[in-house]
Symmetry: C2
Subunit: 118 residues, 2 copies
């Protein structure tokens, strides 16, 4: 189980999936792990955030660039970004006073593999 540092708290990252949903009947524990990953994406605000980040030149953006197009408060945006980081879908790098969030393409590959049908 890998871990990642977010501020001072250390948060668990899901043990990656990588097998199609049809490969074998999912046991409850595995299903709960995958559901946590999918839940991170299954929110309109977070989809918009991912879309905005993916649309940038460098595939990364800071909070200040994201809060206005969404019309939400800064704490709310920070909260959603944390959810995405904890799920392994975004990375967070501090540069000066700003925090830059970047896409993790491999994590999206995992999701696509999971959702492939026989």
């Amino acid at each position: 189980m890998t871990t990642v540092t977010q501020g001072l708290a250390v948060v668990d990252v899901q043990p990656v999936c990588c097998t199609p949903i049809s490969a074998a009947p999912l046991d409850r524990a595995t299903a709960e792990g995958l559901a946590r990953l999918l839940k991170a994406v299954a929110d309109p605000t977070r989809l918009q955030l991912l879309s905005l980040v993916a649309g940038t030149q460098a595939r990364e953006a800071c909070v200040c660039e994201l809060t206005e197009p969404l019309g939400l408060t800064q704490p709310t945006v920070s909260h959603h970004l944390k959810v995405l980081v904890d799920a392994g879908l975004l990375t967070r790098k501090r540069r000066g006073p700003w925090a830059y969030y970047g896409l993790v393409a491999e994590r999206f590959d995992d999701l696509r593999t999971l959702l492939s049908t026989p």
Copy 2:
């Protein structure tokens, strides 16, 4: 907007997605539609249901085959199946006293397309 009949109620089916999340910044309405689709998959019980259906020979199963491996009551299983049908991920066909639920592969294709990264 297509509709589907589930018992007597007529339920909306999401207008399909089919463009990668990075294609253009998502407006709120589109994001909410896509989130509804993803939420249907983002639940451990429903992932197990999809896995069980996908694992069968004919890619379909009736409720009686699904309720026992999950250890949940029949109404709960029926509830989750309805959510998946409403999202367009499963179809429902009555054959005699049984209701058979089958995978909709195209809907999973939509999800994979949505989650592709640049």
